[in-house]
């Protein structure tokens, strides 16, 4: 059947199972927008194209399905760059569609022309410049395949205006992706499995480092069975939170720069690290010179380029985590690591059992309290979408995630402004789930225009602004490493309550601990998005902290005499 290139875009998206796209129209993508009206796809009109990419990203992370964003040429396309880079760093499958000036004009510096495929080349898994209607369908089919397969990631399709306007024969079947090119078989050999099992069964002090790959591979149940069978304690990375239940007795808590002190200590003492679907980011290892020197390392990742990238490993297995573990499981012996687990529990001391809920209210409002109370009020069952900074680390420490895909956060790129739009995407992917944005006052102002999207699209999420009047994490670094010279970190903020009300959203300001739970409950019971401005302690600090470039166990602990009772923080 004859179709225009613009129609083929939507024919392909519908056939790929896409139900929602996030976008912003403009001249070079107008033919596609015109054709859109005839197809059963919901379009969410964002207020900035960066928001569209984060929404597609949040959609993908919450559901595992490919998220789709669409924008026009030039500035529309370049506005997507931050969102594409965010998805790349966190292995999130999205397809970004941009219009391009007519193919005859490409290279002429035409109005709203930019070499956007040149721009996105190093931050996508692959990208396309499509200049003919015939090429649209093959590009789309291949793009979805690439985005979702292997280590997922963003794919960008740039389509010239004339390719959208001209017609051709549309044949879905003929546009099937060609069979994959040769790729070397780097999957594990029997010898690799034998060595891995020997290390696992022989280890006395093992730790399982649980990464994002567990969720991408849908390997939660087998990881749990593995850890329970071998009695191996588990520590998630930031993006691995949710891959292993927080309430499980073998879950030690998050590792890394703001990880639990006992976890980092235990990693340094371990004799075996099982790195499953994680990539030894510098925020996880501290300085590599002293990282887990006593430990043998087994690294399982689907991306061969990750093996031996940062940390030299003893056994590197390239492959899908679930498949690999299914191979390993029969050879894993029941382990008694009670001595090791008892030792790690000793490292915890009494701090882990202190319950911040029960600490006395000293009249101050602390972010840790707000987040912990949010966890209780939502029964740990919400999808929490965080921004980047102090509140992100407090969320990781005080909201206990038992379920996969329930924490959505920009880990690798650390993109401020991610949370609000990503939460919109998460809500559309999982309409039955309760979704909360946890965001700092700085990051919120980077993408708060999307409140208008929320109103227009009648989206029911809730927003908790952790407002300390500073770019808090940067201020913390200035406090520790720059002699408290607060260069450009204090913020004069608008009245967020009035601001939200101006958008037409109910809002509340909370300054006292006692008001946290009632405000959260009121928001949960409201069918609209509610914005709560939590005015928290201004110069609060995330502890513990591994200074950048320091050894993992060289943590800055909470100063003594301990203000734990003051802040309610239950970390060392």
């Amino acid at each position: 059947m004859k179709r225009t290139g613009a129609q083929i875009i939507w024919e392909c998206l519908v056939r790929q199972g896409v139900t929602d796209v996030f976008g912003y129209p403009g001249g070079a993508i107008l033919p596609a927008y015109d054709a859109m009206l005839d197809y059963p796809i919901r379009h969410v009109l964002v207020r900035h194209e960066q928001g569209a990419t984060h929404m597609a990203d949040g959609y993908a992370r919450a559901s595992g399905r490919v998220g789709v964003a669409i924008a026009t040429s030039g500035p529309g396309a370049t506005n997507m760059v931050t969102g594409i880079a965010t998805a790349m760093m966190d292995s999130s499958p999205i397809v970004c569609i941009t219009g391009q000036v007519g193919s005859k004009l490409v290279g002429s510096d035409a109005f709203q022309e930019s070499d956007v495929t040149g721009v996105t080349l190093p931050i996508t898994k692959h990208n396309y410049l499509v200049t003919r209607a015939d090429d649209v369908a093959p590009a789309f089919r291949e793009a979805f395949e690439i985005a979702a397969s292997g280590r997922p990631g963003p794919v960008h399709i740039d389509i010239t205006k004339d390719a959208q306007q001209s017609s051709c024969e549309f044949d879905w079947d003929a546009a099937a992706p060609k069979k994959p090119e040769f790729r070397p078989d780097w999957s594990a050999s029997p010898e690799d499995y034998r060595r891995a099992l020997e290390l696992i069964n022989g280890a006395e002090r093992p730790i399982l480092l649980a990464g994002h790959g567990i969720m991408i591979s849908n390997a939660m149940d087998i990881i749990r069975a593995f850890a329970e069978k071998a009695n191996i304690p588990v520590s998630p990375t930031l993006l691995g939170i949710g891959s292993f239940p927080a309430s499980h007795p073998l879950n030690l808590g998050m590792m890394g720069m703001h990880g639990e002190a006992w976890v980092n200590q235990a990693i340094q003492e371990a004799d075996l690290l099982l790195a499953f679907g994680m990539r030894f980011d510098d925020r996880v290892t501290g300085t590599l010179k002293t990282y887990a020197l006593a430990a043998k390392k087994i690294h399982i990742d689907i991306d061969a380029a990750e093996i031996n990238k940062n940390v030299r490993v003893d056994v590197g297995i390239v492959g899908d985590l679930r498949d690999t573990l299914e191979h390993l499981m029969p050879g894993v012996k029941q382990g008694d690591r009670s001595k090791w687990i008892a030792h790690v529990n000793e490292l915890k001391g009494d701090v882990a059992v202190r319950d911040i809920q029960n600490l006395p209210d000293d009249g101050h409002l602390y972010a840790a309290h707000v987040i912990n109370d949010l966890w209780r009020a939502t029964k740990g069952d919400a999808i929490i979408v965080t921004d980047v900074g102090q509140h992100q680390m407090w969320e990781a420490q005080y909201y206990h995630h038992d379920k996969p895909r329930s924490l959505i956060t920009s880990g690798g790129l650390g993109t401020m402004g991610f949370a609000l739009p990503a939460a919109v995407g998460a809500k559309l992917a999982c309409p039955d789930k309760e979704v909360w944005v946890v965001v700092g006052d700085g990051g919120f102002q980077m993408t708060m225009c999307e409140l208008a999207t929320i109103v227009q699209e009648q989206i029911d999420i809730n927003v908790a602004i952790i407002n300390n009047g500073y770019l808090g994490m940067v201020r913390q670094w200035q406090e520790f490493f720059y002699e408290r010279r607060y260069a450009a970190t204090p913020l004069i903020n608008p009245d967020f309550q009035k601001l939200a009300e101006a958008f037409g959203l109910p809002a509340q300001t909370v300054t006292r601990r006692a008001d946290v739970v009632p405000a959260v409950e009121a928001a949960r019971n409201n069918r609209k998005t509610v914005v709560i401005d939590f005015k928290v302690e201004q110069e609060d600090t995330v502890y513990p902290m591994v200074p950048a470039g320091a050894a993992l166990d060289a943590m800055i602990r909470r100063p003594s005499p301990s203000p734990i009772v003051e802040t309610g923080a239950d970390v060392l």
């Binding site: 692959h126 003929a174 090119e181 061969a304």
Partner: protein
């Protein structure tokens, strides 16, 4: 360690950029890169020379295979192979010095491809060392200009990667190469 890769890629616009951008992005410094057609339509062959260690070479291979347009990557450093560079060297040559220079050219089994009243152009094919050697002895006469291709390399023996590339990617099908991947 100087490492040589033979990389077979789809002959499409922008593929060279993708490969070279990858090396830049991952902070590997390319010593030399040559690209040209193979005997198979639609398939280009690059010879890429990089200074890296064994683990680095392995990661380069893994990263390069992640590029969609890459058909085959071979590290041909270790096995027996033939490595060649081609250089054209323009050297100042007076009536007196010309004979001396041409004797040197003979010793190096190079060729004179242009003679002008004041200069010669010498063409030499060989390993980088051999070309550097000729260059060294020509310098006293005055090297005016030089152009080098960079290394091309091929593993010895009957085994042909190009044949495997064709087998893997199937017959060249115009319909499947329709979109430009940048």
């Amino acid at each position: 360690m100087i490492t040589t890769f033979a990389v077979y890629v789809e002959d499409k616009p922008g593929v060279l950029t993708r490969v070279s951008s990858l090396f830049r992005r991952r902070a590997f410094n390319i010593e030399s890169l040559t690209v040209g057609h193979t005997d198979k339509p639609g398939v280009s062959r690059m010879t890429i020379v990089v200074d890296t260690d064994e683990l680095g070479a392995r990661r380069i291979e893994a990263h390069t295979y992640k590029l969609v347009n890459v058909l085959r990557v071979e590290n041909i450093t270790a096995g027996p192979g033939v490595f060649r560079d081609l250089a054209m060297i323009k050297v100042a040559a007076s009536a007196e010095s010309r004979t001396h220079i041409m004797q040197l050219v003979d010793v190096f089994r190079a060729r004179v491809v242009d003679v002008a009243p004041d200069s010669l152009i010498i063409e030499i094919t060989g390993t980088e060392d051999k070309i550097d050697g000729l260059l060294e002895v020509l310098r006293p006469y005055g090297v005016l200009e030089m152009a080098r291709t960079g290394r091309v390399a091929m593993a010895r023996g009957a085994r042909s990667t190009t044949a495997q590339v064709e087998a893997a990617s199937g017959p060249a099908d115009e319909d499947h190469n329709v979109f430009h991947s940048v």
